[in-house]
Symmetry: C2
Subunit: 235 residues, 2 copies
DNA sequence: TTTATTTGTTAGGCAAGCCTAACTTGTATA
DNA sequence: TATACAAGTTAGGCTTGCCTAACAAATAAA
């Protein structure tokens, strides 16, 4: 049985290795993600190595073992199922679900999670558009591009966000955006890539940074199928 | 913000004082309930006193302050709402709900609990028949008698159990009993008060100890209204 | 009322997770 | 290649929540 803290370390490692597009992570990187000091991470790494959940040598890189990885995926699965539940059944807004799901993801009960999944009718994506691992730990590989990649005059549909910070999510809502909303790119400033977009008739200017955090599919794409060369490697 | 452990101490105090029919508890008693050593309880009592959640002097009795009590009731409310949820929506059996609810009761989110309550349509009693405190912390006073109080030849309806141990609950199921089932008392042995009861046509012999742990209402009673002089003082 | 037993307290210790401060190793840059 | 900076490590310390062992107080029994 893993502690709440151990689960969070594994989950953070999964997140980092996914974002890096490799299967390696560093001590500082992990410390930043978890908002603790590198020294603390070092202690924990010894424990996780002892339990054969990570591979790791002094001054080397950290990788998840397959045991560690499957534990991390299980936590991710719970997190995303709970997010979906809160969003769909309890009218939580899009930017509220994360915080509560952070707590719920640590509840230990296989039966509960299986029932939850069934109750939600086996969803494949959470409210942020991220794929939900199935019971076997399989994750749909998800090909995505961002709003920053869409050409002027073209339309796309939002499927997910990259940044889950509350400030970002609130901004997204302010712009009038939500999952499955259509976005039309009206112009792009040469100098700083500032975009003017249209969402449900509402015009907004958004920065490049903002646009890079909005995952989209183009008009002929289907969620879960390739829609560009930009591969979002979750699995 | 209270820790998981602090919440459990307060909840245990509420339970003990309820069972004692007084508002006092002792160190050993609390240690037994929480399955820790008295010395550990002593440490925690100092902390809870510091936080003004309990009143307590050296070698004296422990009582909850109104602040401590309302915290404890909040935990109890969450516990019972989650039990109801698991039982009604996720097909958990009667004896499975407790363990998972023990974890869920510590999730911090007022919105979540309010939505949960609404989702369940403001239930007044949990699957064990125990009253669910409302948002203000009010608990329906519940007058109950037990199966041991029912006269030979009379019928009653089960509304709750006193003992929540898994072994007891499994035994209850084995006898064919569940909430709202009608029980007919066919005979009572003079010597040891052994009862023969009939539930859905099934005859069983049950001990006095067993019978004392089954709360019932008699035929003309309504749950939540007095049905005997035996008062079950939860509030 | 004296003694035995139960109940409660104190002191000192341990593991988990966190910290700071000082150090070492690795790597990028002049 | 020398050096400076970033990344990682170690040592020692803190809090929380638990423990055991020894002791003190209260209560029940003789």
């Amino acid at each position: 049985m893993l502690s709440y803290t151990e689960e969070n370390y594994l989950k953070a490692l999964l997140k980092i290795t996914f974002e890096n597009g490799s299967n390696e992570a560093g001590t500082n990187e992990l410390a930043n993600t978890l908002v603790v000091k590198p020294a603390t991470v070092n202690d924990m790494l010894k424990k996780l190595k002892e339990k054969e959940l990570v591979e790791y040598e002094k001054y080397g890189k950290i990788t998840l073992t397959s045991e560690g990885r499957s534990n991390a995926i299980e936590v991710l699965r719970k997190h995303r199922l709970w997010e979906t539940f809160l969003y769909e059944k309890f009218d939580f807004s899009w930017d509220e679900v994360h915080e509560v799901a952070e707590q719920l993801e640590h509840i230990q009960s296989t039966k509960l999670i299986d029932k939850l999944e069934k109750f939600l009718d086996y969803p494949e994506f959470d409210p942020h558009g991220d794929p939900i691992p199935n019971k076997k730990g399989e994750i749909k590989v998800h090909f995505k591009k961002t709003l920053a990649d869409v050409g002027v005059g073209n339309s796309c549909r939002m499927v997910a966000v990259k940044d889950n910070s509350s400030s970002f999510l609130q901004y997204v809502v302010k712009v009038g955006l939500g999952i499955n909303n259509e976005i039309k790119v009206l112009s792009r400033q040469e100098y700083d890539a500032l975009l003017v977009i249209e969402v449900n008739g509402q015009l907004s200017s958004v920065s490049q940074k903002f646009a890079e955090n909005i995952f989209v599919v183009c008009q002929n794409c289907i969620i879960g199928k390739p829609c560009s060369k930009i591969k979002c490697e979750i699995s």
